[in-house]
Symmetry: C2
Subunit: 429 residues, 2 copies
């Protein structure tokens, strides 16, 4: 049996996880999968990790040494980002190497360029680890679920924000406290923007939608809102109404095009995604034949992401070992227009901080009526400081009309602060 | 591009679902997957369904006509059972046809014979639809999760019993009423034994364990208990203690061998499987790298099972279209001893109907102590008819010692009826 020689660029947490799996499970993979995987080259900016892992003998500071090593069959790219990582990936494909990557930013930005080059050169690019950590989701979408026209993909794909929202909901923490706690536990970075502003989730839904709908969406096309405006009071209102609030990354097929977005979302407590708490991730997929499915697991962590990376590697290694020809993928690639947010029709939760005086309810309700926004429920609560809160939930309404209503209400002068708008995802509403 | 010619044996609900998907999505599969699938032969015991589907021209009453049709590349077997279906599958493999099957009983009984013949003849046997309806689980286990040593597979894999237990829990229905309701809704057969006695679940866990642990387990090796002994009162006790009761099919890798069984199980309400209600199925998998994962969806229904069948078909069709060589599978096949139930160590819920008189608590507690079974909690409740109930939960104990305790307690003469034993699956207990 031939060996399959692996080159690894990036020896951070996930890279170290990959090395350990290859060291510990070499014999298992030989016996169970029939592949003889050998790590023959690795690169990183620091030599320490290679030393700790006992692989200094194959270490280089230069990723191109890995790519240009003639022994290497498959390059694993775990550098991240869209600059040098892109150079590595394209160079590897030009050098005739298959690629395994966990790089969501790259695949959500330049994925089409990467996949087309791979296809042209008869090579594979595998990216299971780029979405949902170790959760098998790209595999199922590209294999088991291919009989379906996929209608929806909705995911809790960012563990940091799901941890924060879970803590805010369970213990009424405010946003800042939840963030500090997540940072202390190592779930959030010092600069948390990619997570809390929704960009990480936007990259992941761009990748998932591209695969599920046989199209090409980039992360900059995804309307994105983070969780920085969410307060415990919104989580309380949500629970009273039978909802939770999750940062959802979602994509629906609609007659007007692809409805794709990332934002805090009220979800019925009965929804399968509603019980996904803490750092866990889950992706909910609806297909015309299969109906509802959900894929749940750890979205981050060395082991989980390394599981996905090595799973992809074994797949490629089996193809090499058993001399499979590369098969074309994504050959049904079709452009889909992105549905503008203004045209979105859904139900909305709107929390308005208002003056505590007669007429604020009538005034605000009148503005909604003028804009054709029909109200499903409203709760008014007084505070102790001459202010009050109106929490509206609308029937299905156009986003444009809801935005116009908020503008109109602001012009009446009754607001004492910024209103909060949270979209509701509820097929029953 | 070559066509891939499909023969279908069995035109029941799932078969009709397969035909409809092939009719409706032919162009999608051509564009997105690059396969030209043609249904060229079908067989069933009745001609009516073929007529309804507009495929009378390719219909035969004899499944062997499908198998022996020289045009057929892939045979889909949807007959079920282990008699004529086995003949069809073996004959198809001898005739050089790839096979897609949804037949859990066959694969859980004669799976090894079928897979070995396929391997010998360089053919594929795909069986995603045999477990969990449309839920991708065999695909993930054989592809995305291959980097892992799988430690546990636990599933709610029978929708009928999950529906019944959900109804019994939510509305305090008794077993007979829940069964009658399930039958009225078409979720349970007139003879419900395969579902309620756990045999269906046993077949499915035998298949899952064989794949997950690279071994060969047959359904007759799986210790199996159904749900016929469960009462609403057990569901009430469970809820009070923070548990639900599910019919779990589970398999754990242990130092002493494979711990595999099917029985009603108390599961903490915080467990991912605990929120899987009604007819839904879910399979929970723990791997050494990926940690906890779960796969959720519809375990039954024409569309769901047909989704899995056609997904498998497309996979084989891609291999044929792009001239892939068949790859060996399961080559790491290793025998694993089955751990005897007597050696099981877990926590137990034991509900004892007893006489309502002084001393029954002391008497029963003494018997547990004599057998070395340590008690975690006990609740005693009086009834209005001179009887009472003792609901014990033990710490981890050997099944043999628990069985001996029940025997000892029966010998004291305090029991007024059959005790109920439910195993608890709780890593915290």
């Amino acid at each position: 049996m031939r060996t399959v020689n692996v080159g690894l660029i990036g020896l951070g947490t996930v890279g170290a996880g990959v090395v350990r799996i290859l060291q510990e499970h070499h014999e298992d993979f030989l016996r169970n999968q029939g592949v003889d995987l050998r790590l023959v080259a690795c690169a990183s900016r620091e030599a320490q990790q290679a030393e700790d892992l006992g692989i200094s003998d194959i270490f280089s500071f230069d990723g191109f040494d890995v790519i240009n090593n003639p022994d290497v069959d498959v390059v694993i790219e775990l550098v991240g980002g869209t600059t040098i990582a892109k150079e590595f990936v394209l160079a590897a494909l030009k050098a005739g190497k298959h690629v395994v990557t966990a790089n969501k930013a790259l695949m959500a930005t330049d994925g089409r360029e990467v996949l087309e080059l791979a296809q042209k050169n008869g090579l594979e690019v595998a990216l299971e680890a780029s979405v949902g950590g170790g959760i098998p989701i790209i595999g199922p979408l590209t294999h088991s679920l291919t009989a379906n026209r996929i209608d929806s993909v909705m995911g809790i794909v960012n563990g940091t924000t799901n941890y924060m929202l879970t803590r805010m909901s369970e213990d009424s923490l405010d946003y800042a406290t939840a963030l500090a706690e997540a940072q202390a536990k190592g779930f959030a970075e010092a600069n948390p923007s990619a997570d809390v502003d929704g960009f990480d989730a936007a990259a992941k839904i761009a990748i998932l939608a591209s695969i599920a709908f046989n199209t090409s969406v980039t992360m900059d096309q995804v309307p994105t809102e983070g969780i920085t405006g969410i307060s415990p009071v919104d989580l309380d209102y949500a629970r009273e109404m039978g909802y939770c609030i999750k940062l959802l990354a979602l994509a629906h097929r609609t007659p007007e095009g692809l409805d794709i977005r990332v934002h805090p979302t009220m979800l019925p407590l009965s929804h399968p995604l509603a019980s996904v708490n803490g750092v866990f991730n889950a992706i909910y997929v609806v297909g015309d034949a299969v109906g509802e499915t959900m894929f749940f697991g750890q979205g981050a962590g060395a082991g989980a992401a390394a599981s996905a990376v090595v799973g992809d590697l074994i797949e490629i290694a089996r193809h090499l070992t058993y001399e499979q020809k590369p098969m074309p993928s994504h050959n049904g690639h079709q452009p889909m227009p992105i549905k503008p947010m203004d045209d979105l029709v859904t139900s909305y939760y709107l929390r308005l901080p208002v003056e505590d005086r007669a007429g604020v309810l009538a005034t605000s309700a009148a503005v909604f009526a003028q804009n054709g926004v029909s109200i499903f429920s409203v709760v008014q609560r007084g505070a102790h400081d001459q202010t009050a809160e109106l929490a509206y939930v609308t029937h299905s309404a156009r986003e444009e009309a809801v935005r116009a209503s908020l503008k109109g209400i602001a012009e009446t002068g009754i607001l004492t602060g910024e209103p909060v708008l949270i979209r509701v995802e509820d097929s029953e509403a």
